[in-house]
């Protein structure tokens, strides 16, 4: 048993309404023996995370707790490997956007004469300031099925 406890799992954080935990999706490939093809198989695990340090979409490492915290919460968040939309290249240690380094993009902007109004990565505040006002990706959305007179921010 004890040997399995040291196992680390890599998964993606998905929206979760629990206050002290994050929901992590572990995606594995499963062989269908009839078709001899691999298919995606998701497993959802709740990891203890009282400060809610991992946000929706982050790739995180989780570790099994020596003792179950609750019936559902069995793991704890070890490390955030890749925050969503803020990737660092592991080889060079530089920041990356899609297929380009941020430095290169900045360099091109400088050569053209960077606009003052343009986006500046260094001055940008950390993620999460628009949660609940303009950015509703931290929760699950649903199709609006009832009109109860209250504001339903996550209804589509």
């Amino acid at each position: 048993m004890a040997a399995a406890r040291k196992l680390l799992l890599l998964g993606q954080c998905v929206p979760c309404i629990k206050h002290n935990a994050s929901k992590i999706r572990i995606r594995r490939m499963e062989l269908d023996e009839n078709l001899l093809m691999y298919f995606k198989k998701d497993e959802f695990i709740f990891a203890h995370d009282p400060e809610k340090k991992c946000k929706t979409g982050d790739i995180v490492l989780i570790k099994e707790l020596p003792k179950k915290f609750t019936r559902l919460i069995t793991h704890s968040v070890e490390e955030i490997v890749y925050p969503l939309g803020d990737i660092t290249d592991p080889i060079t240690g530089k920041k990356v956007v899609v297929g380009k380094y941020r430095d290169d993009v900045e360099h091109v902007n400088k050569l053209f004469g960077k606009s003052e109004k343009a986006f500046d990565y260094d001055k940008a505040p950390p993620r999460g300031r628009l949660e609940g006002t303009k950015d509703f990706t931290h929760g699950e959305t649903y199709i609006k099925w009832h009109e109860d007179g209250k504001d339903q921010p996550f209804a589509v």
Binding site: L84, K117, F119, E147, V156
Partner: protein, 274 residues
């Protein structure tokens, strides 16, 4: 079980019972079907601010800095103004002003920010136009496709560069909601089912709260009785010279708990009086 509908038994015949029509529920649940919002309206597309009013006397985009136009007669100026030309030019002026707000440098029109700004301007202009000509179906289709495309681009930008995504939402005054995981039609049956579950949960919570209130009201009385009993037992045991099972600390802890409880109750009452 709640009597949802009454059953009428027939003495003879093939059917044992029939349902009394029309269906009337005795449950205190009322379902209101949400009104359908057209996909091209700003409520659905996520545009928080509409297209601003652009001064009709502004010259056409190519002639803004023209020195010849400055010295030209009023008639010529009005010929080159936005109000006397096609609506396309007003839209284009708005597009350019919005792109200028977000572009990386003066020649940037192809970055994601610039593309999104251009799309947003077009969408807002089209939404204005749809108010005047609601039956222009070809335009409606184009508008819907453009809104969907912008949503897709926002999805990509969020994945690529979250800080820039937030910045552009703020700059263009947009709302982004991720699409729901599964599609389903809104039906009466399903909705009533969900509402019934919610109603039951609500009821359960209400009863639990009521029970909690009853227990809390008895708390002080119980602790006082407990303290008295403990003190009595300890005294009796000491007097009868039997092994003392109730320690002084135990009594102290109960007394402290009682004092704290009383203090917190008084505080709550004070807050309630205000």
């Amino acid at each position: 079980m709640n009597n949802i509908f009454t059953l009428r038994f027939l003495p003879q015949g093939p059917r044992q019972f029939v349902r009394e029509y029309a269906f009337k529920s005795e449950l205190k649940i009322k379902w209101v079907r949400p009104e359908k919002i057209s996909c091209i309206l700003p409520e659905k597309s996520g545009d928080l601010s509409p297209m601003p009013k652009i001064d009709g006397k502004t010259p056409l985009p190519g002639f803004v800095n023209s020195k010849q136009l400055e010295t030209a007669s009023e008639e010529t100026k009005s010929l080159f103004s936005l109000e006397n030309n096609s609506r396309v030019w007003t839209t284009r002026t708005y597009q350019q002003s919005l792109i200028r707000e977000v572009q990386r440098h003066s020649l940037d029109f192809g970055s994601m920010e610039a593309k999104l700004a251009k799309m947003t301007a077009t969408i807002r202009a089209m939404q204005e136009e749809m108010k005047i000509h609601p039956r222009n179906l070809r335009r409606k289709v184009i508008l819907k496709e453009l809104i969907d495309k912008r949503k897709k681009f926002l999805k990509y930008l969020r994945r690529w560069d979250y800080k820039r995504f937030e910045w552009i939402l703020e700059k263009l005054d947009l709302v982004y909601k991720s699409p729901p995981a599964e599609f389903h039609w809104v039906t009466r049956k399903e909705s009533l089912k969900k509402l019934a579950i919610l109603h039951c949960e609500n009821l359960k919570q209400q009863r639990l709260d009521a029970y909690r209130r009853i227990l809390e009201s008895q708390q002080v009385e119980f602790l006082e009785k407990k303290l008295k009993n403990l003190e009595f037992i300890r005294k009796e045991q000491q007097e009868c010279q039997v092994a003392v099972t109730v320690s002084e600390e135990e009594i102290k802890a109960v007394r402290k708990q009682l004092q704290e409880l009383k203090a917190s109750r008084e505080k709550q009452e004070e807050v309630a009086d205000r």
